[in-house]
């Protein structure tokens, strides 16, 4: 079932139940309370009957009887019953007793007067004390006005219920269509967005409603998808370019040396070139392998890694690769916990991440100082690696973690753009955080946080 129909039915059902409840209440209370005056009229007639029949002061009873029949309107099916109270038991099987109900008799005996009702036949009874004994006078009549009134009320209520069902259903349909319009609109526009038109975005309204939020979420997702697609595209083109360069050199060198007969020295020279290019290829592929392994999300090793050892080893690695690099270990933020500073994770991977960032800092800062500092907050161990090298152009910082991406100002330095993505993957693997701040020609600061 469509949501639109569901909403419509739910709306109709809810409103209709209120209407039905209201109609029932109207009918019930009209039936119960609207005819109290009829009892009064009956009671009056009962009093007159008692006067006529029992009051000895009324000499001319016949005249009164005439007066009554001429001037007091007879009610439909009006009847009078005069019963001696001590003979009530004898009339138990009569029609009167059955229609008026036992309640009328017992109430009248108890309270002096009582009323009762059987469908549209109304009864009113009073007790009269005559000198010959106690009498119960009952007057009954059919309230034809009430009968007509309730019948037409019934008709009106039923008809209005049926009409309101139709009206409510149509209003509900319009209402739900109105409510779901933005959803259909979004769906329509999303279907138009395909791989080739990922740059398109949904229109986001200015309000703060759920639909705006939905559209904004969709746009966010599109942005992420677009970035992922772009990264993927960049990765493929960059990777093929990087792999292609040494391969071209190898093929060219081999081609050249095979072109004609050469002396052994020349062959040796060619082989040396081929060898060095092949080593480049190997470096790239092993880097790629590490990158692929670091984004593996299988079981992770969690062991206590000493921060001091980690720092020492990373420094060692960086100093071995860049012996000219001036690395300073800064202890000015190191917490006063002695030997106890540990972090949970895999020592090799952490070392790989930190040394990669350190080596990057060394690579791009020449002989200027590189600082490695350790600090700790309540929840994280923080490594700060800062240099005063060439920096990264602001516009390129957001791409710096893309595999094979290299900033535009590093043309003269050898590199494959694998180090930072590798570090980022490792940090993310252990639920850490890596931040990079940089200014071109001023320096770069990398902050790596691992949870304690």
């Amino acid at each position: 079932m469509k949501i639109q129909l569901k909403i419509t039915l739910l709306f109709t059902l809810l409103c209709l139940s209120v209407v039905v409840l209201l109609s029932t209440a109207v009918y019930y209370f009209a039936n119960e309370k609207a005819f109290q005056d009829f009892y009064t009229r009956l009671e009056l007639r009962a009093v007159i009957a008692s006067k006529i029949n029992f009051d000895i002061n009324f000499q001319n009873q016949e005249a009164i009887e005439n007066l009554r029949s001429q001037h007091v309107q007879r009610l439909p099916e009006e009847e009078e019953f005069i019963i001696r109270t001590d003979t009530i038991d004898r009339i138990r099987n009569t029609a009167l007793f059955k229609t008026a109900g036992e309640q009328l008799f017992s109430d009248a005996l108890k309270n002096g007067k009582a009323v009762a009702r059987h469908r549209f036949q109304f009864f009113s009874g009073i007790i009269h004390q005559a000198h010959t004994g106690e009498y119960l006078i009952i007057v009954s009549a059919v309230n034809s006005y009430a009968q007509n009134f309730l019948l037409s009320l019934q008709k009106i209520l039923v008809t209005s219920c049926i009409i309101s069902t139709l009206v409510l259903f149509s209003i509900g349909l319009l209402f739900s269509r109105q409510v779901l319009f933005p959803m259909r609109d979004i769906a329509k526009r999303v279907t138009n967005i395909s791989v080739t038109s990922l740059h398109e975005r949904l229109k986001v309204g200015s309000g703060k409603d759920e639909i705006t939020f939905l559209a904004a979420t969709f746009n966010d997702m599109l942005s992420r998808l677009e970035t992922a697609f772009e990264t993927q595209n960049n990765f493929v083109s960059n990777a093929s370019h990087e792999l292609n360069t040494p391969l071209t050199a190898i093929i060219g060198e081999a081609d050249l040396s095979l072109a004609r007969q050469r002396d052994p020295e020349q062959y040796r020279e060619s082989l040396r070139v081929i060898m060095s290019e092949a080593e480049k290829l190997k470096a790239i592929t092993s880097g790629l392998l590490e990158l692929a392994q670091s984004s593996f999300h299988g079981t992770l090793v969690y062991e206590q890694v000493s921060v001091d050892e980690l720092v020492h080893n990373s420094l060692q690695v960086a100093r071995n690769v860049y012996p000219m690099c001036n690395i300073r270990l800064d202890q000015s933020l190191r917490p006063e916990v002695g030997l106890g500073l540990n972090v949970k994770g895999n020592a090799q991977l952490f070392e790989l991440a930190i040394s990669n960032v350190l080596m990057n800092a060394c690579k791009y800062s020449g002989e200027k100082q590189v600082t490695l500092a350790v600090a700790a907050s309540k929840t994280h161990v923080i490594f700060i690696i800062s240099d005063q090298g060439i920096g990264i152009p602001t516009a390129e910082i957001k791409h710096i973690f893309d595999p094979f991406f290299r900033a535009s100002n590093v043309k003269n330095t050898k590199g494959y753009g694998i180090g930072l993505p590798l570090a980022r993957n490792i940090v993310h693997l252990y639920k850490g955080n890596i931040e990079i701040h940089s200014k071109e020609n001023a320096g770069t600061e990398v902050i790596i946080k691992f949870p304690l």
Partner: protein
């Protein structure tokens, strides 16, 4: 026990004097009261809906983390390291505040432009100079660093 007042503009750099405070403590423990002054609200609506906790939510996580690092770093020296927003930069108010906390000296960075950290911030540096308490200026040795936490790294004068 030393009681020190340190104005901050909510940047990590402005926390730098904590290093000097702890170095100068000479083995004594110290209470460091960091303050940032905000404009006194004057409009009736501002006063009615003044939420004391609100500016605290605007503190950057990096700033709080840096405070945490320094607290860890000088755990044995720092007894109290508190941060407070003050809703006035009048001299009387600041003097009263400092008297209440028995402040002995005020530390601040020399040649540093204390910026307005928040929209409603006001500068209290010139007022603090008039409070008749010793103001100790800290020369920050800058290497033209970029980034955030790097500015907090302490460099001994001889190393610089």
């Amino acid at each position: 026990m030393k009681n020190i007042l340190l104005p901050t503009d909510l940047t990590i750099t402005s926390l730098y004097p904590i290093h000097e405070i702890c170095k100068n403590a000479g083995g004594e423990q110290c209470n460091i009261y960091l303050i940032h002054t905000l404009d006194t609200p004057t409009g009736i609506m501002d006063l009615l809906f003044l939420k004391d906790r609100k500016p605290y939510k605007m503190l950057s996580p990096a700033f709080l983390e840096a405070l945490e690092m320094l607290r860890k770093k000088y755990a044995s020296v720092i007894h109290v390291l508190s941060f407070e927003f003050l809703y006035s930069n009048s001299r009387a108010y600041l003097r009263n505040y400092m008297q209440g906390r028995n402040i002995q000296s005020i530390y601040m960075l020399e040649d540093y432009d204390y910026r307005n950290g928040l929209e409603q911030s006001v500068n209290c540096i010139s007022v603090l100079h008039k409070c008749k308490l010793p103001v100790i200026h800290i020369q920050k040795i800058s290497h033209g660093e970029v980034g955030t936490l790097t500015t907090l790294l302490y460099k001994e004068k001889m190393l610089a």
